[in-house]
């Protein structure tokens, strides 16, 4: 792998690590499989891009992007927690609605170019970093801050209630916690992180695209799975969260390697990525079940 490809893969891993942290928050902490992310990732990209085109400072453009992602999550959370719609279905409804909303946000265009526009990477570039290194350093800083934020949040009373809500909602409700509000805020925070990832991806690749989010949830799960494999066993929350971010980087490196693989005349296309990722996640979900001994059939002897 060339150093250019390596830096690119690590950068991608870091920025999508933010998204993976969001997926971890819903899927692992809240036990709430949330497909909203497939819509909130391009939502963040669209809002930030439109903000920049409207003359907003690229840093400032991240604020409405994050808020939009939070709101998208709140919609899913309200549908599921307040109105009792199955969480998967609630998130699919929001995701589907977001497709139209994202097109509206982008002025009914499927994509917006940010080529030649100012980005959040400018200050680092001015320090003399190449654009690919600038992105890498910036993503590393943002991801580290997101990690710190989540580790801090999980130690607060609210974070503890959030973990308890995912583990045993009946118990935490009997202790006086408003489980609905906890779920709604949790799903909102998750999608805020995902939208932030979307905004940064758009600024990095100079393009906000309505199809940016396809397969986001699966990639997020893959990162969580890979991270969980790297640091298996009983670990503190801080290590588990860091593992998800690390998993995202390892996942991107593995993908980059796979794409370079040549077996005879066969090689992978970038379009094979979704298939490979899905198989990876399926495998990871099946391994514990295959390891467990099959239940013996009941006999009436």
């Amino acid at each position: 792998m060339t150093s250019y490809a390596f830096i690119g893969a690590v950068s991608q891993g870091l920025v999508y690590g933010l998204m993976a942290l969001g997926v971890f928050l819903t899927f692992r902490i809240l036990d709430f499989p949330d497909l909203t992310v497939d819509g909130s990732l391009p939502l963040g990209a669209a809002v930030s891009a439109m903000g920049i085109l409207a003359g907003l400072n690229p840093y400032v453009s991240l604020i409405p992007a994050v808020l939009a992602g939070f709101l998208a999550g709140v919609v899913t959370g309200v549908l599921a927690a307040r109105f009792g719609i199955l969480h998967l279905l609630a998130s699919i409804l929001t995701m589907t609605a977001l497709y139209s909303i994202n097109l509206r946000v982008m002025g009914n265009r499927p994509n917006i170019s940010l080529i030649g526009q100012p980005t959040v990477f400018e200050p680092l570039k001015r320090l003399g970093l190449s654009s690919s290194l600038a992105a890498l350093v910036f993503f590393l800083i943002v991801l580290a801050l997101a990690w710190l934020f989540l580790v801090w949040l999980m130690r607060t009373e609210f974070g503890q209630a959030l973990q308890a809500t995912g583990d045993n909602p009946k118990m935490i409700a009997s202790l006086g916690v408003n489980v609905r509000v906890t779920v709604i805020v949790g799903v909102g925070l998750s999608n805020a992180l995902v939208a932030l990832a979307g905004a940064l991806v758009a600024q990095n690749q100079g393009l906000a695209d309505v199809s940016l989010g396809v397969g986001t949830i699966v990639v997020g799960l893959a990162s969580a799975v890979v991270g969980g494999t790297i640091v298996s066993g009983r670990r503190s929350m801080a290590v588990r969260i860091a593992a998800v971010a690390l998993g995202s980087v390892v996942y991107r490196l593995a993908v980059a390697l796979a794409l370079q693989l040549k077996i005879g005349s066969f090689s992978f296309n970038p379009s094979d990525l979704n298939l490979i990722t899905s198989i990876l996640v399926i495998g990871a979900l099946l391994v514990p079940k295959l390891r467990a001994k099959p239940k013996p059939l009941k006999s009436h002897a």
Partner: protein, 265 residues
């Protein structure tokens, strides 16, 4: 003091599977009293617990606890006054969280959860002091995941959690039913220690007639959603399992043909 007046609760109203679980249940529990509640399946025991705790809303009637009419309060608001221990030892604790995290969650029962630290510095000492008397060595396992504990240890932890902030009312919902006799005896011993230490007003549902006779100042039997037998301390003292069983069967046969509860003083 807990005053239940004319509680009604129907499930599946008007449907083919309509079940009237409570039909005008009245019960007055004095402060500091431990009342054991028995009754056959479907007599309304668990519905009663749900209605008092607030996880179920009553169709009619009032629930007064102390000086507050809590009938319209949601479960999370009642949590400031009421602690509940469930039958399944797994349902009272969070398996993926540590012993101290579970205790800290319970320490904040009924309070809003903000952005302060989930476990404060001085709290661990308090937790150790709360766990030491139960003699299971949990005070040295504060950072162990609760999922690693046995069912008996988890139910003991749940009891400590339920009583660490003194509740105005403690609800025990067949909390030893899922345990083997030895563990159940241990859980009951701990329950009585905690109840007597804080003179807790307690409702205890049980299927175990021996338990119902042995513990508490009063024994109440439900049938068809009403209190049908009510033994105060002296009458309760003369009861045996056999005489209780006779009452049990007799009242089950009579069904709901009599409306006023029989009082045995």
């Amino acid at each position: 003091m807990l005053k239940l007046s004319g509680l009604y609760k129907t499930f599946g109203q008007g449907g083919p599977n309509e079940i009237v679980a409570l039909r005008g249940l009245d019960l007055l529990v004095k402060k500091g009293e431990l009342v054991t509640i028995i009754g056959s399946n479907g007599s309304g025991k668990s519905t009663l617990m749900g209605c008092v705790a607030g996880s179920l809303a009553v169709d009619a009637g009032t629930i007064v606890l102390g000086s507050a009419n809590v009938t319209a309060w949601p479960e999370r608001r009642r949590a400031s006054l009421i602690s509940r221990v469930f039958q399944d030892p797994l349902s009272g604790t969070c398996a993926s969280m540590t012993v101290e995290e579970n205790l800290a969650l319970a320490h904040r029962r009924g309070r809003p959860r903000g952005l302060r630290r989930g476990i404060l510095k001085g709290e661990r000492e308090f937790f150790r002091a709360a766990l030491a008397p139960i003699g299971l060595g949990l005070e040295s396992r504060l950072t162990d995941q609760v999922g690693l504990l046995s069912g008996g240890q988890r139910q003991a932890l749940t009891l400590v959690m339920a009583t660490m902030v003194r509740p105005a009312l403690l609800l025990l919902d067949e909390h030893t039913a899922a345990q083997d006799p030895k563990t159940a005896a241990l859980t009951m011993r701990l329950t009585m220690e905690l109840v007597e230490r804080d003179k807790l007003t307690t409702l205890m549902i049980t299927h175990n007639l021996n338990q119902a006779l042995e513990y508490g100042q009063r024994l109440v039997m439900l049938n068809q959603g009403r209190v049908v037998l009510d033994f105060a301390a002296e009458a309760k003292a003369t009861l045996t399992v056999k005489s209780l069983l006779d009452h049990f069967l007799a009242s089950a046969e009579r069904g709901d043909s009599f409306s006023d509860s029989q009082l045995f003083n």
